[in-house]
C-alpha cells in the first residue's frame, strides 16, 4: 500500500468521524438560544427545562467533538508535514485563531451553562447560551477559512524557501470562497440539529410521552424543529448552495464537470439525476437527465456552454472521480428530499394536524440520520473535488504528506483510530439514547414520579 493513500485515508477517516459531532453542536447551539430566549420571554419553566435537556445532549456531543477534534490539528503536522512546512504561515493562523478566539470562549461559557445553573441569574444563563453559540460558530468560521484557502488560495506570497506567507489578514478571513462555503455549511449544521430535534419530538409523541400541559415537550420540539428545519433546508439550497455551486463552477471547472458527470463539453448541458459514471467509456450509464438544466443553474441561460472533462488534461481530473460524482448526487438528492419533507410537516403543523399524522411523524423520526449523510457527502464533494490538488493549483496532494512516516506506521495508527472510534461510536449512542429516553424532566423529579 502506498503512503500517500494511507495518509489521505487517515485524515479522511478521522475528520469524517469528527464532523458528526460539531455539525450537531453548531446547529443545536442556535436552537438552544431560541429555546432560552422563549423561556426568558414567556417566563415558562418548561422552555428552560427543554433548553437544559438539549444542553445536556450538546454537552455530550461537545466532549466527543473535542476529543476527536484534537487529533485533527495534530494530523496536519504528523501526517501532512511537507504541506504544513510550506503552508503553516498561512493556514496555521486560522487554526490557531480557532483555539484562541473560539475554544476558550466556548469551553468557558459551556462550563457556566452546564454547571453554573444554580449560581447564575436567568439573564446570565441565557447569556452563556448565546456565548456558546457565538463560540461554536466562530470555530466553524476559522475551519472554513482554513479549508477555503486550500480550495481557493488568496492573499499569499512565496518566500525564497518556498513557504507561503500571509499578505493580508482581512483578505484571508474574507476569502469569497470561504464566506459562501461558511453560509452553506452552517445552514447544513442547522438542518442536522432541526432534524434531530424534530425526530425527538416525533419519538415522544409516537411513544405517547410528554403530552401534557406544563411538559408538552413533544409538541415544543416538533414545532421548533420543523420551523427551523423548513427555513434551513431551503436556505441550504437557495441561496447558499446555489451561490457556492456557481463559485465552484467558475473557479474549479474540472471539479464541477466531474461532480455532474459531464465528460464532454455541451451547450445546453443537462443535469443528470441518476446514472453511473463509467470512466472507461467516458459516459454515464443508465442516465436520467433534465435537459439544459445545468447550463441554466450555472449561467442563468439554457444555451450556455458548460466545460466537460474533455477540456482538461487527464492529470488535472479529480482522482476517485466516481466517488466525487456520487457524493455530490447524494448531497443534492437528500437536500431535495429534506425540503419536501419539511414543507409537508410545516403545512401539517400550520393546520394543527401534525401530531395526529403518524406516518409523517415516523418519517421525521427515521430521517434524522440523513442530514449527517448529506453533510458528510457535501464535505466529500468539496475535498475530493479539490483533488489532485492539496492547495488548489499550487501544491499537489502527492507533494504534501509526511515522507518520513511510512505506510506501515500510518496504517498502524489508522487502524488504532478505527478501533477506538468504533468504541466511541457505541458509547456515544448509549449516552445520547439514555439522555433522550430519560427526557427533559429533572432527574430528582423523574425519580419521585417513578415511585
Amino acid at each position: 500500500m502506498n503512503a500517500e493513500l494511507i495518509h489521505r485515508l487517515h485524515f479522511a477517516f478521522t475528520v469524517t468521524f469528527h464532523y458528526l459531532f460539531p455539525q450537531l453542536t453548531m446547529g443545536l447551539a442556535l436552537l438552544i438560544v431560541v429555546l432560552k430566549t422563549i423561556a426568558l420571554r414567556t417566563g415558562l419553566d418548561k422552555w428552560d427545562r427543554a433548553a437544559r435537556f438539549w444542553g445536556r445532549i450538546f454537552g455530550i456531543n461537545f466532549v466527543f467533538g473535542v476529543v476527536t477534534g484534537i487529533p485533527m490539528e495534530f494530523e496536519f503536522g504528523t501526517n501532512w508535514a511537507r504541506f504544513s512546512r510550506l503552508s503553516g504561515g498561512v493556514i496555521g493562523q486560522p487554526l490557531a485563531m480557532e483555539g484562541v478566539f473560539s475554544f476558550f470562549l466556548e469551553s468557558a461559557f459551556l462550563g457556566l451553562f452546564l454547571y453554573g445553573g444554580n449560581r447564575l441569574s436567568k439573564k446570565m444563563h441565557w447569556f452563556s447560551a448565546v456565548m456558546v453559540f457565538v463560540g461554536s460558530w466562530i470555530s466553524g468560521f476559522f475551519i472554513i477559512v482554513t479549508d477555503a484557502w486550500m480550495q481557493h488560495p488568496v492573499a499569499y506570497a512565496r518566500l525564497p524557501n518556498g513557504q507561503f506567507e500571509v499578505l493580508s489578514f482581512w483578505q484571508l478571513l474574507l476569502n469569497p470562497w470561504g464566506l459562501l462555503q461558511y453560509a452553506h455549511n452552517m445552514t447544513g449544521a442547522v438542518v442536522t440539529a432541526s432534524f434531530v430535534m424534530a425526530a425527538v419530538g416525533a419519538f415522544y409523541l409516537l411513544e405517547g410521552r410528554f403530552l401534557s400541559g406544563d411538559a408538552d415537550y413533544c409538541r415544543m420540539f416538533l414545532k421548533v424543529g420543523v420551523i427551523a428545519g423548513l427555513i434551513s433546508t431551503i436556505v441550504v439550497i437557495f441561496p447558499t448552495g446555489d451561490l457556492h455551486g456557481k463559485y465552484v463552477a467558475r473557479n474549479q471547472p474540472a471539479a464541477i464537470a466531474a461532480m455532474e458527470g459531464l465528460f464532454k463539453t455541451e451547450t445546453g448541458a443537462g443535469i443528470i439525476l441518476m446514472g453511473q459514471p463509467n470512466e472507461e467509456t467516458q459516459q454515464i450509464d443508465n442516465p436520467i437527465v433534465v435537459n439544459d438544466a445545468l447550463s441554466f443553474l450555472i449561467y442563468g441561460t439554457t444555451k450556455a456552454e458548460v466545460k466537460g472533462l474533455d477540456q482538461f488534461p487527464r492529470d488535472q481530473w479529480p482522482t476517485t472521480l466516481p466517488l466525487l460524482y456520487y457524493a455530490y448526487h447524494i448531497m443534492a438528492g437528500l437536500g431535495t428530499y429534506f425540503v419536501l419533507l419539511m414543507l409537508g410537516a410545516a403545512f401539517l403543523l400550520w393546520r394543527g394536524t401534525l401530531h395526529r399524522t403518524r406516518w409523517v411523524l415516523w418519517l421525521l423520526l427515521i430521517s434524522f440520520p440523513l442530514p449527517y449523510i448529506a453533510n458528510t457527502a457535501g464535505w466529500m464533494t468539496a475535498e475530493i473535488g479539490r483533488q489532485p490538488w492539496l492547495i488548489y493549483g499550487l501544491m499537489r496532494t502527492s507533494e504534501g504528506y509526511s515522507s518520513m512516516v511510512s505506510a506501515g506506521n500510518g496504517l498502524f495508527t489508522l487502524l488504532g483510530f478505527m478501533g477506538l472510534y468504533a468504541l466511541l461510536g457505541l458509547l456515544f449512542t448509549v449516552l445520547v439514547y439514555r439522555e433522550i429516553s430519560h427526557g427533559p424532566e429533572p432527574k430528582e423529579k423523574a425519580a419521585v414520579a417513578a415511585d
Binding site: 473535542v66 495534530f74 496536519f76 503536522g77 512546512r85 485563531m97 476558550f104 461559557f109 513557504q163 449516552l431
Partner: protein, 347 residues
C-alpha cells in the same frame, strides 16, 4: 526580534497548558488511590469538571501558535514524534470520554473500569509530556532536510540514534508524573473538604520528597546528556535566577502546605512548573530542536521562523485574542471559586 518574541509566546502557551491541564491530570492520577468512597470520588471529579476541557484548549491554541510561527518545527517534530503523539491523542480521547461516561451513566462495576482508564490515561499523559520535553532537550536524529523519525525505543541510551524512550527521557517522564500529581494534590486541598482534604494535604509530603530528589537527578542528568545546556546560563549569569526560582518555589510550596495555605501552595507549584519549563527552554535557546547528528542539522529559531508578514499579522490578533482568553479563564475560575459542589458533577 520577532523570533525572540514568538519563542517566548509559544513557551508561555506551553506553560499555561502545563500549569492548568497539569492539575487535572494530577487529580486524575490521585483519585485512583486517594479517595475512599463514591461521594469523595464525585467531589474529586467535580473539582475539575467545569474546567478540564478548557484547560486542554491551551494545548490546541499552543499547537496552533507553534504551527504558524514555526512551521518547520511543527512539521518536523510532529511527523518525527509520530508514534508517541498518536498515543497521546488516544490517551486524550480515552481520558475525556471515560470522565464524561462515568459522570453520565450509573454503570455499576463498569464505573471502576472507567475510573481506572481515566487515572491510567492521566498518568501516562504526564509521563509522555515529560518524556517529550526530555526528547527536545536531548535532541533527535535530524536529517539535513529538517526531518527525522523516532522509534519508541532503541537501546535505551541517549546517542546519535536514540528512541523516544531512553534512561534520560524516562527520568523526564517521572519528574512530570510526580510534579503534576503533586500539583493535583494541591488543587484538591483547595477544592475539597473534610477527610479527603486532610489526606490530600498529607500525601504532599512524600510527593514533595520524591519531586525534590527527581529534580536534582534530572538537572544532573541534563548536564551529563547535554553539557551545552549550561552555556546560556554562563553567558548571562543573571539567568541563574531560574534554578534559584526552582528551589525557592519548592521550599515555598512545602512551607505553605504545612501552614494550610492551599492557594499559595498551589501557586508555588505553578511557579515551580514555570521555572522548570523556562529553564529547559533557556537551556536550548536559540535552538528549537537540537540534532544528535551534528549541530549543522539543528532546527534553530532563524531557520524555523515564519515570514515577517505572517508574524506581524499574527502578533496583532494573538495579543488581542489571548487577552480575551485570559479574561474568560479568570472569569470561569472566579465563578467556580471555593470548594467544589459535588451535586453539579453529573450535569
Amino acid at each position: 526580534m520577532m523570533g525572540f518574541i514568538w519563542f517566548w509566546l509559544v513557551a508561555v502557551m506551553i506553560v499555561g497548558y502545563v500549569v492548568l491541564d497539569g492539575f487535572d491530570l494530577g487529580v486524575g492520577v490521585l483519585h485512583l488511590f486517594l479517595v475512599r468512597s463514591e461521594t469523595e470520588r464525585k467531589a474529586t471529579l467535580a473539582s475539575i469538571g467545569p474546567v478540564w476541557d478548557g484547560n486542554e484548549v491551551w494545548l490546541l491554541a499552543g499547537g496552533g501558535t507553534l504551527y504558524f510561527a514555526f512551521p518547520l518545527l511543527y512539521a518536523s517534530a510532529f511527523s518525527g514524534f509520530y508514534l508517541p503523539l498518536m498515543i497521546v491523542l488516544w490517551l486524550l480521547v480515552l481520558r475525556g470520554v471515560s470522565l464524561e461516561l462515568r459522570n453520565h451513566l450509573d454503570l455499576g462495576v463498569w464505573r471502576s473500569l472507567l475510573d481506572g482508564v481515566f487515572g491510567l490515561a492521566s498518568a501516562l499523559l504526564a509521563i509522555f509530556y515529560g518524556a517529550a520535553l526530555a526528547n527536545v532537550i536531548r535532541g533527535v536524529p535530524l536529517q539535513p532536510d529538517g526531518y527525522f523519525f523516532l522509534p519508541l525505543w532503541t537501546n535505551w541510551q541517549p546517542g546519535v540514534a536514540p528512541g523516544i524512550l531512553d534512561w534520560y527521557t524516562v527520568i523526564g517522564g517521572l519528574v512530570a508524573l510526580v510534579a503534576l500529581t503533586l500539583h493535583g494534590a494541591l488543587w484538591l486541598t483547595i477544592k475539597v473538604s473534610g477527610d479527603l482534604e486532610q489526606r490530600a494535604r498529607r500525601i504532599v509530603t512524600p510527593l514533595w520528597l520524591a519531586l525534590a530528589a527527581l529534580t536534582v537527578i534530572s538537572l544532573i542528568a541534563t548536564i551529563v546528556v547535554r553539557p551545552a545546556s549550561l552555556n546560556n546560563y554562563y553567558h548571562y549569569p543573571v539567568t541563574f535566577i531560574v534554578p534559584v526560582g526552582v528551589v525557592a518555589s519548592l521550599a515555598a510550596l512545602w512551607f505553605w502546605n504545612r501552614n494550610a495555605q492551599p492557594v499559595k501552595a498551589f501557586l508555588a507549584s505553578s511557579v515551580y512548573l514555570f521555572f522548570m519549563l523556562a529553564g529547559a527552554c533557556w537551556g536550548v535557546y536559540p535552538t528549537l530542536l537540537p540534532a544528535t547528528t551534528g549541530a549543522a542539522n539543528d532546527i534553530t529559531l532563524t531557520r524555523a521562523i515564519s515570514g515577517p508578514h505572517t508574524l506581524s499579522v499574527g502578533l496583532a490578533w494573538w495579543t488581542f485574542g489571548m487577552a480575551l482568553a485570559v479574561a474568560y479563564v479568570v472569569f470561569v475560575y472566579s465563578r467556580f471559586k471555593g470548594k467544589a459542589d459535588a451535586a453539579t458533577v453529573g450535569h
